[in-house]
Subunit: 201 residues, 2 copies
Amino acid sequence: MGGGVLEFAILGLLQQAPMHGYELRKQLAEVLGGLRSISYGSLYPALKRLHAAGLVTTDEPDRRAPLPADAPPLTGRRGKVVYTITAEGKERFAELVSQAGPEAYDDGRLFGVHLAFFRHTAADVRLRILEGRRRTVEQQREGLRSSLARTRERLDRYTLELQRHGLDSVDREVRWLSELIDSERRDPGPGQPAEPQRDAD
Amino acid sequence: MGGGVLEFAILGLLQQAPMHGYELRKQLAEVLGGLRSISYGSLYPALKRLHAAGLVTTDEPDRRAPLPADAPPLTGRRGKVVYTITAEGKERFAELVSQAGPEAYDDGRLFGVHLAFFRHTAADVRLRILEGRRRTVEQQREGLRSSLARTRERLDRYTLELQRHGLDSVDREVRWLSELIDSERRDPGPGQPAEPQRDAD
DNA sequence: CTGACGATGTATCGTCCCGATACATCGACC
DNA sequence: GGTCGATGTATCGGGACGATACATCGTCAG
């Protein structure tokens, strides 16, 4: 729940269709940045937590195979397990998707998941998340800049290059976000732009 | 030891001067990318492991203060602890610094630490690490490229943008590495270019 | 003088996540 | 009939993190 990046992403994928863990993992790798693929050591515990919380159900198929006593160890015949999102799960996902506070953009991974499911997000929330993310990254950039300015002389060439490259990446991220924001403002797409917001909690 | 990114970085910093944990943390944040600062929940366990392995010693100062019995709870008077690298620690650091295999560049964080301590690294090892890193990142780029080509139609605008940005970052990293490699080849700096390597362990 | 505050400083807890690994089934191809 | 690779479920040990508690020190206001 606290971090919960994975749970969020899993709910988002299961929203679209029920899936096996294996399939889930592949989709997850694509959605979450492409490089860093998710490990089973994260996935199955996350699914277990979601199941315990009643947000997904498992469609455990026939493990009623006879299995005669001639196979001594036989720790427990594995079967394919299909995970399906529950009504509560959909509710939770809708909640998560409408979060527009710092928790939605301060962590880059969480921001990535939000972005991946932006089509389930209202236009005004999208805009606030993008702007929040830009502010966060801009602050990082300022931190890096001043740190680099302070230590410029004391560092060797390689460390300097590393920092310069990092600063450049952050700079590009800001520009990328700015483009997204502009484009979002020009064409808000589906979702209410800045609606009532009267009876929010 | 397996991962051991932090241990490596700590040894590298202590190589230069003995330090407190607090100071270590600040320096670490600068060396390791600048953005992601290290947490105490990582730092102190790492120091404990290093201490247990005999790679650092602690200069625990006077905790022989009287402390009369009028302070009931008093879990155990904290004192500043200065960490100093041992001869074994220096040895271990020298080993780590001369690793030029996949473990040095497949993990980006580990590569970052290697780069941060490149001035302790022989010129030929530097070059092999940089080239290895470039190969790794190039493979990531190809993976991303083909994945993007495969799924281009099925993805919405935001996911697409995320992947495009990711691909762009990876692409820039390759170019950055290429510049470093060229520069390294033009001016190898200190360190033997392709030396004996006879009596390694 | 005193007390509040922020920087410095050490340390642990619960939890998430990861890499490695084991176990298991299935189709294809030789 | 045998092996290989893709599919598939699951656990283990350990590293890293955020939050938090505890403790010391200088400083500046009242």
